[in-house]
């Protein structure tokens, strides 16, 4: 096989997610009353980018064959924290941003430490830490409120050169700064290897523990970037249980749509980003077709159900029934 065919096989999930997104976005803008204008793109990207950050966070953990059910709560916690800290003069704002990101990193590191060194199951451990993070968020913001440095917020939610949405540029920057170096580093390789076959990776001397720990910690960081952006969009902090839970759920949907295998070791954060953007666009399709917004939760749930059921097609390729059981 030629090189490009290997590349194609490796990136199939990502390309599929990209294609779904393009088709959905084309349908969306074609039926939008305003059409394909910079404003429509900016609004769509501002909504999509939030989920994209959380989905990237989920991807890092899913690649190691784990799951992080606390990403939504880290997202909520950092949102509440940012509504206190990211305010004031330039220096204060910068320190606030650093503190918020550091908190996210710490939350992720705690998850990683409990799962890897405490040897607990990721599901139960992250549900429990999620409760703790939500509790802290509720302490910070018993009622919605707070504020944010509006100059910074407007700069990051506006448009660059009047055309490109700034949030999309920020997403691109985060991919370049966090995901690309990580996936090419030894630690990133180790995270993939641990998800693919932990025993084989261990026998080959791959630093699986450090790789997995880095994945969990960076997941916390990415969720915090998402939380920061939520604050920029809403100008407030809000410890909403339902919204945190919804982001966790949607991040899983985005990851599945983005071609990341829930069994670990396969997929990329780029795919998850397109999965997230596609998921958001599908959710918004209801609005351009004038459906009652009441139907939106059901519609999103059904999309999620269909997306996860698509994985079942792999069953047709199973030759030996014993392969049903992992």
């Amino acid at each position: 096989m030629k090189d490009w065919r290997y590349w194609l096989a490796e990136q199939r999930g990502t390309l599929l997610a990209f294609a779904i997104f393009i088709v959905m976005f084309a349908i969306y803008t074609a039926n939008h009353p305003a059409g394909f204008t910079a404003n429509v793109v900016q609004t769509a990207s501002n909504k999509g980018v939030l989920l994209a950050f959380v989905a990237m966070a989920q991807t890092l953990v899913v690649i190691t064959a784990g799951i992080d059910l606390s990403v939504g709560m880290i997202f909520t916690l950092t949102n509440c924290l940012a509504s206190w800290l990211v305010i004031g003069t330039g220096l204060e704002t910068a320190l606030g941003v650093v503190a918020v990101l550091g908190t996210g990193l710490l939350c992720g590191a705690i998850n990683g430490a409990i799962v890897i060194y405490g040897r607990l199951q990721p599901i139960v451990a992250t549900i429990a830490t999620g409760a703790v993070y939500f509790g802290i968020a509720l302490l910070l913001r018993p009622f919605p409120g707070g504020s944010v440095n509006e100059d910074l917020a407007d700069a990051l939610t506006g448009r660059l050169f009047g055309v490109v949405p700034a949030s999309l540029a920020a997403l691109f920057a985060v991919v370049l700064i966090v995901w690309v170096p990580f996936s090419r580093s030894v630690l990133g390789r180790a995270a993939y290897a641990a998800g693919s076959s932990e025993t084989a990776a261990y026998m080959s001397g791959v630093p699986i523990r450090r790789g997995k720990f880095a994945a969990y910690a960076l997941a916390g960081l990415l969720a915090a970037i998402g939380g920061l952006f939520l604050t920029f969009f809403t100008y407030t902090g809000d410890a909403a249980y339902a919204s945190g839970n919804a982001y966790t759920l949607f991040s899983i949907a985005a990851v599945v749509l983005g071609g990341v295998s829930l069994f670990g070791g396969k997929g990329s954060a780029i795919g998850a980003i397109f999965g997230a953007l596609a998921f958001r666009t599908i959710g918004d399709l209801l609005f351009v077709f004038d459906f009652d917004p009441l139907w939106q939760p059901l519609f999103q749930g059904v999309i999620l159900l269909i997306a996860v059921s698509l994985g079942a097609f792999a069953l047709f390729r199973v030759r030996n029934r014993l392969e049903w059981f992992l």
Partner: protein, 328 residues
Amino acid sequence: MSETTIGGIAGRMPKFIRRADPAVLTAFACIVLLLFLGSLYSRSFLSPEYLLQQLKVASFLGVIATGMMLVILLGQIDLSVPWSVAVGAMMAAAAAAYGPIGVALAIPFGIFCGVLIGVVNGIGVAYLRIPSMIITLATNAVAQGLMVVYTGGFSPQDSATGAMRYLATGFTIPGVPNAVIIWALIGAAMVLMLTRTSFGRSVYGIGNRERAAYLSGIDTRRVVMIAFAISGGLSAFGGVLLAGYASKAAQSMGDAYLLPSIAAVVLGGTSILGGRGSYLGTVAGVILITLLQSILSVMQMPEAGRQIIYGVVIVAMLLLYGRAPASR
């Protein structure tokens, strides 16, 4: 195995202590500790009325955790509990609005809707081989969507029927709340099923190694599906009881039951990887969680503090005895 390592001391202990799971003993020890701490805080903590009241509150969680335990024994998990509970409650209350027949069928209809959710979960897990965590999250989202469409986004106006209230708050035997009797009956049935029927043994077998269970001639997919259906039905029944207790259904009434039900099962020594665990442990876990909640509310701890303490206690107890074996 443990008898030989502990040696002479354990050898002289009564048989039931020797055979007991250390996790179950720890859970019971924690219950005693909580009761002790509570009695230091307030005298009335050890009064029979208060304890019976706690047992009544615990029975709602107990019914839900019973279903969760069955699924966890298989090595799976059911994250659709929140909206299974809400669907059970709302559909039972909704059926009550349709005349006398609706009132009579309210409770079965609520449970039936829960079973339906469970069957969808079961088909996804057993036949489509979708990871249980994912498919149950998805059905939870669909159930939520259906209920939002049904209620129009508001809490439903239908109220619970007399029978539901009677089951949740009435007294058939003087002094013993009906809810506690129901939990005892469901618990007894569960114990009987797990220890005395081939279905129960299959559940443990599949939890240990599904491949081996399949090769031994067990129709593992059917067993998994039935287990999920039972779990959905019990969650919905818990919702029916809760609706009877509060005399109406509410939108997010089930949210508060997902983490506690998993925690109760896992704190009771049931392995989250499946195949190991006893119902006695789950009972201990349920009472432990309920007492913890009660003490926190007696101390007038705000919701935020409760969530934090909850999460910390669960992680701490799991680190004590819920750890996976050291790798390799």
